[in-house]
Symmetry: C2
Subunit: 198 residues, 2 copies
Amino acid sequence: MTRRGSYAKGIAKREQILTVALELVARQGFRRTSIRDISEAVGLTQAGLLHYFESKDELWVEVLRRRDAIDDAADWDAHDPAELLAAIVRHNAEVPGLVQMFVNLSAAAATDPEHPAHAWFRERYEKFRRVMAADFRRMQEDGRLRADIDPEKLTSVLLAVSDGMQIQWLFDPSRDMAAHVELVTRLAIAEVAAVSAS
Amino acid sequence: MTRRGSYAKGIAKREQILTVALELVARQGFRRTSIRDISEAVGLTQAGLLHYFESKDELWVEVLRRRDAIDDAADWDAHDPAELLAAIVRHNAEVPGLVQMFVNLSAAAATDPEHPAHAWFRERYEKFRRVMAADFRRMQEDGRLRADIDPEKLTSVLLAVSDGMQIQWLFDPSRDMAAHVELVTRLAIAEVAAVSAS
DNA sequence: GTCTATAATTTGATAGAC
DNA sequence: GTCTATCAAATTATAGAC
């Protein structure tokens, strides 16, 4: 409430930093992007930038948080969790810096319990598994999904395909990430009609 | 041929370095393992270790190469490419350092064309896709695999599940990586019988 | 084959002034 | 909110002794 002008400016600067950081990652690669590069790109010194984020890794975590917040708020055109995931994956292909960052950060966080993003990723996987699996269970009750599939396993598989295809896509951007997610979905869903029709 | 004794010793030392490197990664994490740590663990100085490997990243690439060479030579009990992949994935769960390294290195290589492992990964994915897809195509001709699946896409999906589950497994080692690969396989294969029996 | 020594860089991070 | 200054590490790399 106090000093509204400079407060708003601080918020805007934060946003700018997060945006520019992703642009730099897309342009010069995640490993090659230092905190100094980012600070200079937004017209700050390195120390100036660290006024906004406690550390480099914390900055990346903030990028992830913001992405999820935006995704959560977005109005996706999807009828089931698998379609939703495919839509998100399709959207990610528009933001190469984000994919680069996600891949590297998830790897680092997975292999280091002390990493600032470790708990975030862990909880994210759990949340997705819980929420999506519940939806899949409902679909099974409605006969829209094969009954012989464990909903939790299917969720994990879809998340794994999504994560794994990001890597393959980075090596060859002509690969269609979302199409591969949809292949699994089709195998899990379409046969219901075929089997019940037989 | 010359100086056989010391030559053999050099080979043995190289092997020791690669083995110890993986042990250290498993124990203290990939990011926390420096070339100095490894050199000290094998009774060398940093400079001494760099007599064997041109750089840290080259050392990691050698670990990958050796792993693949061992896997290629192994006698896997598998009847089709999907079973083979599941067997390899199951085996990987016994070597946590390797999984840690693979995840981090593939991320780094994917996001940096100059990375020493970039070409290696790229070609590896291509090779797997080519070889496995050819096998899947044969299985389709034999009626052992659903005909409405693109063999290349199925291969990419299986590799993605394998890579993606490694990450989820690192966050929670109680997850069964191979079982998730097998879920996809079952969806792609088993229905042939069901459909053709109907 | 292995060491000591050391240079040169780069990076993330901190203290404290303005 | 931003800067200057400065640190401590980590890493690659090299020269040259043993």
